[in-house]
Amino acid sequence: MIEVKNVHKSFGTLEVLKGVNLSVKKGEVVSVIGGSGSGKSTLLTCINGLEPINSGSILVDGVEVHAKTTNLNKLRRKIGIVFQQFNAFPHLTVLENVTLAPRKVLGMTKAEAEEIAIKQLTHVGLADKLSVYPGHLSGGQQQRMAIARALAMSPAYVLFDEVTSALDPQLVGEVLDTLKLLANEGMTMICVTHEMSFARDVSDRVAFFHKGVLAEVAPPEQFFSDPQHPETKEFLSNVR
């Protein structure tokens, strides 16, 4: 379970998170939507400790992420994250990209890591690209590789930070299909996204991020048909 409690986060004088609260249960898929630059991505990078926070707390399975005593490298094994772009390690083949962390972090042998990597790469439809370098992949394929790389660590949670935003429109579908596949398999996911149809069809709950807080969190049926917060209404009327 991920529990975000009253988290505040500033970059210099700019406060991007102004008391965010959110809890995500095992097996749940939560989509976070909201305007660009509102701090949605920052929330994700705070959850796996890539960014420090100013106050509040974030607990992952009861472990406080920002506590000084927390071993972040260990904690991160169970929180995968996929970013909008530049995810690939360009000097490593697709297979090496995926096997690196299982080998170096989990201490698997090359054979063990490759078995898992091939399974995950097959899962995301890249079984025929194992020895290819990322530079020869399309943007959508690179994102699917990044998903397989995160999954190879057998994380309990995966965070997706606008993974389709940097893609050409015709490539968005293949990545969303992969996300849907994971969601249907019961993976716990937090997806920052601009894809409203994805948020509606796949999420258990949708969260609207506005002015540094989660203004509204509701199941998708209610969120899209009967939003309570006036800002949510306005946002949805603009994106439709």
Partner: protein
């Protein structure tokens, strides 16, 4: 008809000088690169303010003419009673001079690795050291190599200045022969050709590596 007094033993004398040039260059570039790696990582890692003393010292090494550095270093080591052979003094000064440039190359190359890529590495549970070793250094190497090759070739030519400390390297050997044989044009052509022969493989090696990386990445 072309005629020269340059004998085979004169040519061997030049090649011996070239050996000295290579030796000084080797120690200067090896030492300078190791120091440059260390300083470059520090520069990329800590804030400008914390690195200020280092930046200042390296700026001194970059802005004061190498000749002055060599002569002063040699004088200081004599005053301090270190009794260092000119070869050692030369290598140390050239290594520091090289490290000043190498630091900036390393810093720039490390900073050229996208932050998101490094975050992706750390988010997989890689430690800072593992991120550096498996992601940052290999990616940075591709950025740094052309500049590093340029630096190495530059240092090889700049190393001629160690003749002021009495070392008989390639250029000094040439000068000696010019004085004796009075054939400056021809001897300088030979010396220039030897410099070229020493530089060419290094330049080609860089080109080969770049080509291989380009095909892959």
């Amino acid at each position: 008809m072309f005629d020269t007094a340059l004998t085979l033993s004169d040519l061997m004398f030049l090649i011996k000088g070239a050996g000295m040039t290579l030796a000084v260059t080797f120690f200067a570039v090896t030492g300078g690169t190791l120091l440059g790696l260390l300083f470059g990582v520090v520069r990329a890692q800590v804030s400008v303010w914390a690195a200020l003393p280092l930046i200042f010292v390296l700026d001194v090494f970059r802005s004061v003419p190498l000749l002055i550095q060599l002569v002063l270093a040699n004088a200081f080591q004599a005053i301090a009673g270190l009794n260092m052979p000119p070869f050692v003094t030369s290598c140390i000064v050239l290594a520091l001079y090289t490290s000043a440039y190498c630091t900036e190359i390393v810093r720039g190359a490390i900073e050229a690795v996208p932050t998101v890529t490094r975050r992706a590495a750390r988010s997989l549970g890689l430690t800072w050291g593992q991120d550096m070793r498996f992601i940052v250094f290999p990616m940075a190497l591709r950025v740094a190599l052309p500049s590093w090759i340029g630096l190495t070739l530059g240092v090889m030519k700049d190393s001629a200045l160690v003749l002021w400390l009495g070392l008989i390297e390639l250029l000094r050997s040439g000068q000696i022969l010019v004085t004796r044989l009075q054939e400056p044009m021809f001897i300088l052509i030979v010396v220039g050709a030897i410099y070229f022969v020493m530089s060419f493989p290094i330049a080609r090696l860089g080109g080969q590596l770049e080509k291989r990386w380009r095909e892959n990445d």
